[in-house]
């Protein structure tokens, strides 16, 4: 069960810097650990995170095995216009987890 959580302000003034917080449940298995039988546990992480604002990419991050499980990320962007923010987390296994949030800019 992968569950993303998003927090953005519902409203903002045009030109305001807004903080966006994200959290997603994920094991972020590094690929360096071994199980009790000595076998390497295969790497399983989210390797890319992107955020687009009305279709335009405003933030992107490449993640690596050292990122902790259940990664929390907060970043800032400029409130330019009302619309929709779209968040995507891309998993090693090819899955893409998505979330969306609306913002009203006055």
């Amino acid at each position: 069960m992968i569950t993303p959580r998003i927090r953005i302000p519902k409203k903002a003034k045009k030109g305001e810097v807004i903080e966006i917080k994200t959290l997603i449940s994920h094991p972020m298995e590094t690929g360096h650990r071994r199980d009790v039988g000595g076998q390497l546990i295969p790497r399983h992480i989210i390797h890319t995170f992107t955020c687009s604002y009305n279709g335009a990419e405003v933030f992107r991050a490449d993640w690596h095995p050292a990122v902790a499980a259940n990664p929390y990320l907060s970043f800032y962007t400029l409130a330019t216009e009302s619309g929709r923010l779209r968040f995507e987390w891309v998993d090693d296994d090819g899955s893409v987890y998505m979330a969306e949030a609306e913002i009203t800019v006055e």
Binding site: M1, T3, R5, R7, K21, L23, S25, P27, M28, A68, A69, N70, Y72
Partner: protein, 276 residues
């Protein structure tokens, strides 16, 4: 604004007073719950693990968005409503709104159960409800589902003081739990008492030893990077003194859980707490 021209000055006084109170409470180990009610993390010398956390980790616990334990609480909320088993019921079919029916429940567990003739903890109570009322199979110990539902139920008592019953039929089990706490074990020949009572607050290598209070369980433990039960923590501790751990849900650990709950009586439920 009062018309007597004193509101400004009074406002200043209130401001200064508020600041003094804030500083004093922070110093006395009293924090603020998000609802605005004060939480006492130190009760008569009994210190929640919260007071041993760094400021950053305390903030992580206090922030209901950033605290990863809330991911399990959310999952638990879904499971609460999810119908399963032969009767087609869910937790909600019997218990309704958890914010009301489950409020305070976590503070009373483990408790004596007359039908079993021994103690029952919250995890076991959940599995018994599933068996008897839903005719669904039990969740396995430390499974994501059991942790999620336990966290969700515990979350409804957040901030309420731990208040278990240790007299009457629970007494022999309480005594057994206490004996466990005082008994030396493992190759290091240590009892719980030695670290978590006699040396609590002192350093063990890079870390400060806590009192070993269990008011925040299930906890999101940074070492584990996941949620874990009190029994998982007991097993971790036992292994650390190179003793053979007991199984999650074993009678030894449920008895110990009752003793520790009593030992931390009055401490607030912090489920899901952040711990190192």
């Amino acid at each position: 604004v009062n018309g007597d021209g004193t509101s400004g000055a009074r406002g200043q006084h209130v401001g200064v007073l508020a600041l003094v109170v804030a500083v004093a409470t922070a110093w006395a180990g009293i924090g603020l719950l998000l609802a605005g009610e004060p939480i006492r993390y130190i009760v008569d010398g009994r210190r929640s693990g919260y007071t041993y956390l760094s400021e950053e980790n305390q903030r992580l616990q206090d922030d209901d968005f950033a605290n990863p334990g809330l991911l399990w609480v959310e999952k638990g909320q879904e499971l609460w409503r999810q119908a399963e088993g032969a009767t087609g019921g869910s937790c909600m079919s019997c218990h309704g709104d958890a914010t009301e029916s489950m409020r305070g429940v976590r503070t009373r567990y483990p408790r004596f159960d007359s039908r079993r003739g021994k103690l029952i903890n919250l995890e076991q109570q959940i599995n018994r409800c599933r068996a008897e009322h839903m005719q669904a199979g039990p969740y396995s110990d430390e499974s994501e589902a059991l942790l999620a539902l336990t966290a969700f139920v515990g979350f409804q008592s957040r901030g309420m003081p731990i208040n278990v019953s240790i007299d009457g039929p629970a007494q022999p089990f309480f005594e057994a739990g206490r004996a466990f706490f005082f008994r030396r074990r493992g190759q290091l020949d240590l009892a719980c008492l030695h670290c978590h009572d006699q040396y609590a607050g002192q350093r063990l290598r890079g870390d400060v030893i806590s009192q070993g209070q269990i008011n925040g369980f299930p906890i999101y433990r940074l070492t584990w990077q996941t949620l874990g039960s009190a029994h998982r923590m007991f097993a971790w501790c036992n292994t650390s003194v190179r003793a053979e751990p007991y199984a999650s849900g074993s009678e030894e650990y449920v008895n110990l859980e009752l003793y520790l709950a009593w030992r931390g009586r009055g401490l607030p439920v912090e489920t899901p707490a952040i711990r190192r």
